[in-house]
């Protein structure tokens, strides 16, 4: 449905997009994820046609968009700042895209379209009100309704949940995928929130400084991140990164952490001798008994509740800090002296210098994607 082919964009000496190629199948959602300045918004504007690439092509529905004006591309957009007309009612705001000259939409059809999309977004009861009289959530839904009403073949959403409160953001995170599926819309969605990216994306493109570092399903990005930076961007609390030197003995490949041996994937033999960083998710570490010979002795520095989880910041005797996370109802450390048990089944190994993930010889299959599961 959408294909971006080797897109490059420069502003003066700054290359803001560097050889970006991406595609989105019809009816699917691609999330553009990355910190501010990574090029997400420029890419979105370029698809919309308000920014012209220095090199590369944008195809929508197989058609080269070069020279096609933004309003002729069949694209809908919604923004984080809502961008509603303050003097128009919610109804008239939503109806604006249907007023284009010569589109042949009758007044009756217009009313039907606006009311249908308003019902879908649960704002049919506030259609007569102006933006100033709407709550932030209603404004955000109005902006979304306006983007959807003309049934665009492609919908571009620029961080639409950024300025709404946590409760509404959660509600929309649940509702949006169903809504988009019902519309059958192809979506490019920009966000800086990894949970939103994982919840909404069939696939996620992780951008860094104008380049695409990885494109994959939420499962691929979380469980098989291409590099250390991506591993730290997905997950809260962030993954623990520990300097490590893989070694091999009769029992297999392992690293040592505070004199304890931690077994690694046998397929990582080629990492032996390299200077590495071991990535262990806080969820993969638990508290064990002092009698457990493989446990690592630590002191508990602070315990901080995080939603329904409890996060402990602990320190090894050598002063390494480690974050440990558990569901709130599970027992925690008995005192300030505690013993850690580390599960390394899902541990990740990165080359310390380049940050690239060191891929095991037989990289375990990634669990089925959302799309496959739905099929």
């Amino acid at each position: 449905m959408l294909e971006l082919d080797r897109i490059t964009k420069r502003y003066g000496r700054d290359t803001v997009l560097d050889d970006v190629s991406l595609d989105v199948e019809a009816g699917r959602t691609l999330v553009l994820f990355g910190p501010s300045g990574s090029g997400k918004t420029v890419l979105l504007r370029l698809i919309a046609g308000v920014v012209v690439p220095d090199a590369g092509y944008v195809f929508v529905g197989g058609e080269d968009m070069h020279g096609v004006a933004p309003e002729m591309r069949g694209i809908g957009m919604a923004f984080q700042n809502f961008a509603l007309f303050p003097h128009l009612s919610a109804y008239d705001n939503i109806a604006t895209p249907l007023h284009a000259k010569g589109n042949g939409v009758t007044a009756v059809q217009r009313r039907e379209s606006v009311e249908r999309v308003a019902r879908l977004l649960k704002i049919d009861h506030v259609l007569g009100q102006r933006p100033g009289e709407l709550s932030n959530g209603q404004k955000q839904r109005t902006s979304l309704a306006r983007a959807l009403v003309a049934e665009p073949r492609l919908l571009l959403l620029d961080d639409p949940l950024r300025n709404v409160d946590a409760k509404l953001r959660f509600e929309m995170r649940l509702e949006l995928p169903r809504l988009l599926r019902e519309q059958g819309t192809t979506v490019v969605y920009v966000t800086q929130d990894y949970k939103e990216a994982m919840a909404l994306g069939d696939r996620i493109a992780v951008l860094d400084a104008g380049r695409v570092d990885q494109v994959g399903t939420p499962e691929q990005v979380y469980l098989r991140p291409a590099n250390r930076r991506i591993a730290t961007l997905f997950g809260d609390p962030a993954i623990n990164l520990l300097d490590a030197q893989p070694a091999i003995d009769a029992e297999g490949v392992h690293v040592r952490l505070s004199d304890q041996r931690l077994a690694l994937d046998p397929g990582l033999a080629h990492a032996v001798g390299r200077t590495c960083t071991l990535g262990v998710r806080p969820e993969a570490i638990g508290f064990g008994a002092a009698t457990d010979r493989s446990a690592i002795r630590v002191s508990v520095e602070a315990e901080t509740p995080l939603n329904e989880k409890i996060v402990d910041l602990v320190k090894t005797l050598r002063g390494r800090e480690i974050l440990v996370s558990r569901p709130a109802h599970e027992p925690g450390p008995a005192g300030t002296d505690a013993h850690l048990v580390v599960t390394t089944a899902d541990a990740l190994l990165f080359d310390r210098a380049s940050g690239e993930r060191i891929v095991p010889a037989a990289d375990g299959a990634v669990p089925p994607t959302r799309a496959e599961a739905a099929a």
Binding site: A166, D236, R281, P305, E308, D312
Partner: protein, 373 residues
């Protein structure tokens, strides 16, 4: 270590023509060595309260005492409070190091000691690499950490922190929260932080004052706020994902207690599952609101009431599953990856101790899970 007492404090702005009460009859006591968060959305009165404590705003009525002394007539500089305020900017002509050590130098601490303390603080907040730079050349997140360092490095009667971590890089946040909590506790600082972010409040505070519309909704530990919210506002405001709320008609008959929900669905319990006071409460009410934390919802193959999966989102460390249940949406959280697909029928079990009961009209909490059984 100092106690702060806020006694019946009200703040009214523009008292002349169009008075706006930003804070209404607030009572709050902060014990020596305690970390308290003022939590609420914009306009709830949290920042006005902090500014009154600091002395930037006058108190319209009521009293405010630090260590037993009424501070109303004392200017900010004489209240011995250390502050990290949003927009309370760094001194541009000074390096990060000079900014952090400024108050210590002004207070006569010797240079070697200042150097050591600034180094330790900068290491803790991961700004040791930028100590010789100027504020204009560092990022927003680094500026915020510098401002925080400048406040925490001081030994003051009170530390006031306004949205101290809003700009921080998400990857650093949890680690720094842990370090800051450890530091504050070790030093025995008394601190008040203002935030709209419940995760920050929960992580750092011993007690949280939840404010809404200038009024205190509840003042309690994070655990009590989670297990015993005083009303529907706090119940649904704190917790992520938010608490599920469903209307119910109680029906106590013989040995069974039924909570009738929408679409003919009823939750069915043995009478013994509830305490006598709760049974009396249920008998006396024609309807009430049930609150159920998503983490307390159990989804299974059989038993319980049927629900249809509408969303299953895996977020790496947990799954959020929304279901169509009794004419409402019921959200469940599982700590694993769940196989349920959209359209699947699952069975919902809500243990008696997972229920919170609220008055349907006032929203006031009537009873909580732990005391139901």
């Amino acid at each position: 270590m100092n106690r702060l007492e806020i006694d019946d404090v009200t703040k009214v702005y523009d008292a002349g023509t169009n008075p706006v009460a930003a804070v209404k009859s607030l009572d709050l006591e902060i014990r020596p060595g305690e970390v308290v968060a003022l939590l609420g959305s914009s306009g709830c009165g949290k920042t006005s309260t902090l500014r009154m404590i600091a002395g930037f705003e006058s108190v319209t009525s009521g009293t405010m005492r630090i260590a037993g002394v009424d501070v109303e007539r004392r200017p900010p500089a004489r209240r011995n409070v250390a502050m990290a305020f949003e927009g309370y900017s760094l001194y541009p002509p000074m390096t990060v190091r000079e900014n952090i050590g400024f108050a210590l130098a002004a207070g006569g601490t010797d240079a070697a000691q200042i150097r050591q303390r600034v180094d330790d603080m900068a290491g803790m907040l991961e700004i040791d690499g930028i100590l010789e730079r100027y504020p204009s050349s560092i990022s927003g997140g680094q500026q915020q950490r510098t401002s925080l360092a400048r406040a925490l490095v001081r030994d003051a009667a009170l530390h006031l922190l306004d949205e101290p971590m809003g700009q921080l890089e998400p990857q650093l946040r949890t680690l720094l929260r842990g370090r800051i909590k450890h530091f504050i506790k070790e030093r025995g600082h008394t601190a008040i932080l203002v935030t709209h972010d419940q995760t920050e409040a929960n992580a750092l505070a011993d007690r949280i004052a939840v404010l809404e519309g200038g009024e205190l909704q509840q003042y309690a530990t994070p655990g009590v706020l989670r297990d015993r919210p005083s009303n529907l506002f706090t119940g649904t405001f704190i917790g992520e994902p938010p608490m599920n709320v469903i209307e119910a008609v109680p029906d106590v008959e013989g040995a069974r207690v039924r909570l009738r929900l929408g679409e003919g669905v009823a939750l069915d319990y043995a009478r013994e599952a509830f305490s006598v006071p709760v049974l009396q409460l249920l008998e006396s009410r024609s309807h009430l609101h049930l609150g159920i934390r998503p983490h307390a919802v159990r989804l299974g193959e059989g038993g319980g009431a049927p629900a249809r999966v509408t969303v299953n989102q895996w977020l790496g460390d947990q799954s959020h599953i929304a279901t169509a249940f009794a004419g409402a949406t019921l959200v469940a959280v599982e700590h694993d990856r769940v196989a349920a697909r959209v359209g699947d029928v699952v069975h919902v079990t809500l243990a008696p101790d997972a229920l919170h009961l609220f008055d349907s009209d006032t929203g006031v909490a009537l009873a909580h899970g732990r005391e139901l059984a």
